[in-house]
């Protein structure tokens, strides 16, 4: 387990620094004033044409699109390349994608001001940017062809990567790659209108990374082997907040292949010539831990603390009308507590990093780095080199779900500390095992929601009080300045402080309750619990008021949520909402807007052996322009499976001494194919700018299932995971 020291130097000094980064991006992208001739990997001798930071055209006619966001399954390689191909009128077969290296000046998220993948924002922040990058490249290639052929640029057509002129001229992008580098980039190249799209919206466009992910060739961080490289595993403490008191490494050093044993902030690292020796060495290690500052309570106690706090109003996140008065005068008052456990992300590839000394005295690192700028800065700090001396390669990652972006950059810190402690000469690969991952913290925080709702005599909802109590992972980090306002972490209450429903009197508040267990965003962040609490409780209130779950929601949704209402209507339609159900089955519904995408889901559920069995999920999503419809469907399917695993099975618990009780997939159970429901996805046609799909498929699933379970059994699953209960239909 890993309680990590906070970096001594704040990574981001202030919000102003964030904005400074954003300004750099705008300049870099909107004014690609000078094309760079670039000796790329393609074409043996001639230079590739790089009109901007995102596109390279090689003389061999291969177009490489540099992707600013990490690819870990959610599809930015294909998605962002689609935008470039569209505006270039390229042939899909000539398109390749690769990760952009870490370079905040070129590849920052415009909203965050740093290179970081999150908030399901890759497509949203790239839509204009990447189309413009493609249009710029196209215009310069056309200009070069016009010069060569002695014709006006406006007479040149481009189709499937072929430039042509009615006089009979024809050429490829590759033919003009060199010449195009001498052209001036247009400041504001025209972009296509939706009716001109050929790639955007293509149902059959193949993903760029499927082949290499089907033959073993795709390279993840764990697959990086450098000359003379050592493999390191770290003995972490069993309790959060514990530190190394002393250790005896004599038995570990006696293991053949073990080269060194070093203490680092997070524990004791064993370095060896190969993985097995490192693992064996760690097993032989004896560490005494100082647990004086460690969390020694069990999760029941931590939950009780949150539950007790949630009974009283906290720092106000949203308030309207007079909720106390409305509750006092309500005909009916319903009250419910919802309890959410710690969740590990458990990506298939456990955390890992490779770092080595570069020839110029700097360092080179390979990480499936989601918090790229943070990791970059951390490596520079720990290694004592300038940012410019760190070359950070962003690698394909075997899943993340939020785990690979930490405000503390603890993984990069651990890798860099081990590398430096071992002398800083030999390359080091840090590898976490599954046990390190499950027991290593950075969990979705334990959270409790206390809800009170009031109905008038007609069954209309007149009062809504929601109090959230739990840990904030922004508090105490550089992110606190703009994530925590007036005592409320906006990530704790997103999806609750603003809901789709018009209720005249409401109060939403929060208590931040810290403890040494490290926590982190987990696929869909606050919506993992707010979506559940809001959508379960609204369902209970509607039922108490004699309303249908679909019609009742639609009647309450405000104009701002018209697109959410559209998804609800569609999901209800394709699910056949209201039809007669087979014996022992029920439908449940939920609608959640998250990350500016709108998703409604209907789940068909039965109870088997006391546990909900989800047979089918109907999902409607409105994410604006559907750039890659198949990726959108796949993300909805995967989000549903990921969420189902968590709500049915998953919790990290601490025993009465504060030690994590789970360790691997046998006791932190992952959904298996035999438990995966059928999924039917409908995409709402839209002209709105595209928004994300990596996370928004997750939040509605839990409450949709829970609402079906309540209908079937009469028991509302208010504490997760559901497997804690023995439901009887």
């Amino acid at each position: 387990m890993a309680p990590y020291d906070k970096p001594e130097t704040p990574i981001i000094a202030s919000r102003r620094d964030f904005l400074a980064g954003a300004a750099g991006l705008v300049i870099a992208v909107s004014l690609p004033v000078r094309a760079r001739a670039h000796k790329g990997g393609h074409g043996p001798s001639r230079a590739a044409f790089a009109p901007n930071a995102f596109v390279r055209v090689a003389p061999d006619n291969i177009i490489t699109v540099l992707i600013k966001n990490i690819e870990f399954g959610q599809g930015p390689w294909t998605g962002l390349a689609t935008l470039v191909a569209e505006e270039m009128d390229a042939d899909w077969g000539q398109i390749r994608a690769e990760h952009a290296p870490s370079n905040p000046a070129l590849y920052s998220d415009p909203m965050l001001g740093m290179q970081l993948t999150g908030g399901s924002a890759s497509m949203a922040t790239s839509y204009d940017l990447m189309r413009k990058a493609g249009a710029t490249a196209r215009a310069m290639l056309v200009a070069a062809a016009a010069k060569a052929w002695g014709v006006p640029a406006g007479e040149i057509a481009v189709d499937k990567g072929v430039l042509s002129h009615p006089a009979g001229h024809q050429g490829s992008f590759g033919d003009f790659a060199e010449a195009a580098a001498d052209e001036t980039a247009p400041e504001d190249p025209p972009l296509k209108t939706a009716d001109q799209f050929t790639f955007i919206g293509d149902e059959k466009l193949p993903k760029l990374d499927t082949a290499e992910k089907s033959n073993g060739a795709a390279e993840f961080t764990l697959d990086v082997y450098r000359g003379g490289m050592l493999t390191a595993v770290v003995a972490h403490p069993n309790r959060f907040g514990a530190t190394v008191a002393s250790f005896d490494d004599s038995a570990a050093r006696a293991v053949p292949g073990v080269v060194d044993v070093k203490q680092v902030s997070a524990g004791v690292a064993v370095l060896a010539e190969n993985t097995y020796a490192a693992l064996k060495g760690r097993k032989a290690l004896s560490v005494e831990w100082d647990e004086s500052a460690a969390e020694s309570r069990d999760t029941e106690t931590i939950l009780s603390e949150c539950e007790a706090a949630a009974q009283a109003r906290g720092a106000i996140a949203h308030e309207a009308g007079d909720v106390d008065d409305a509750l006092a005068n309500a005909e009916t008052v319903l009250e419910a507590d919802f309890l959410f456990p710690y969740l590990a992300h458990a990506p298939m590839e456990p955390l890992d990093a490779v770092i080595e000394r570069s020839a110029d005295g700097g360092v080179e690192a390979w990480i499936g780095s989601q918090g790229t700028t943070l990791d970059h800065q951390m490596i520079a700090n720990v290694c004592g080199v300038d940012l410019a001396q760190v070359k950070l390669h962003v690698m394909l990652a075997g899943g993340s779900f939020g785990r690979r972006a930490q405000m503390t950059s603890h993984l990069a810190q651990e890798a860099a500390e081990i590398f430096m402690a071992a002398g800083g000469d030999r390359a080091v690969k840090l590898m976490w095992t599954r046990e390190d991952d499950i027991r290593g913290g950075y969990y979705r925080p334990v959270t409790v929601h206390h809800l009170r709702g009031g109905l008038d005599a007609d069954g209309e909802i007149i009062a809504w009080e929601q109090t959230v109590a739990g840990q904030s992972f922004a508090a105490g980090t550089p992110f606190e300045a703009f994530m925590v306002r007036n005592g409320v972490d906006i990530m704790m209450v997103e999806g609750a402080s603003e809901t789709p429903y018009a209720v005249a009197n409401n109060a939403v508040s929060a208590h931040i309750i810290q403890n040494p267990v490290s926590t982190l965003w987990w696929r869909s962040v606050g919506h993992t619990h707010t979506g559940y609490a809001v959508e379960c409780f609204i369902d209970e209130l509607l039922e108490a008021g004699g309303k249908d779950p679909v019609a009742g929601r639609l009647a309450l949704m405000t104009d701002d949520y018209a697109r959410l209402a559209g998804t609800l209507e569609k999901a209800a339609e394709i699910a056949g909402w209201g039809r007669d159900m087979p014996e022992g089955r029920a439908l449940g519904v939920a609608s959640v807007k998250s990350f500016n995408s709108y998703v409604s889901q209907v789940a068909e559920v039965s109870i088997e052996g006391g546990v909900p069995r989800v047979h089918k999920v109907w999902c409607a999503v409105d994410c604006g322009v559907a750039v890659n419809p198949e990726i959108i469907r796949a993300q909805m399917e995967g989000g549903i499976g990921y969420a189902l695993s968590a709500i049915l099975f998953n919790e990290i618990t601490l025993d009465e001494t504060g030690a994590v009780e789970q360790s691997n997939f046998h006791d932190y159970r992952s959904l298996r194919i035999s438990e995966m429901p059928e999924v039917e996805v409908a995409i709402i046609a839209s002209d709105e700018a595209p928004t994300g799909v990596g996370e928004p498929g997750v939040p509605p699933l839990g409450p949709a299932v829970a609402n079906a379970v309540r209908r079937l059994t009469g028991a509302a699953p208010r504490r997760l995971p559901m497997i804690r209960n023995d439901f009887q239909a």
Binding site: G216, M348, G399
Partner: protein, 153 residues
Amino acid sequence: MALTLKINGKDRNVDVDGETPLLWVLRDDLRLTGTKFGCGVAQCGACTVYVNGQPRRSCVTPVETLEGAEVTTIEGLEGREADAVRAAWAEYDTPQCGYCQSGQIMTAAALLQRNPNPTDEDIDNALAGNICRCATYVRIRKAVKAAGERLEG
């Protein structure tokens, strides 16, 4: 100990601690990195290879037990079933992050070798040992079925 392993049809000599799981010999010594580490305790299937034609979890298979055995990894997986699986994987763009996919494909191809026309239930049973945290299970199911149809057709 010095061992000769037959990997993807070729004799490979290694000199390792005999207890070393095959997974780490494949990766660290032979640089066959398509076989992945996911759990180390035969729970997730990411490390699936064939030993003498049968799917095996390489993360719990000591290499000293494999003298003379034929090992097939994702890099050496070929044949009608493998081709059909890969074609179907492409048809449905099945992988998301891709990390578990070598194991999924090895298991799927093995299923089709013994049962070219599997039902959804057969597929679920055969692949229940292969975890995909991205949960691309809907597509795995469709792709295995399509691969079977390709073989039959």
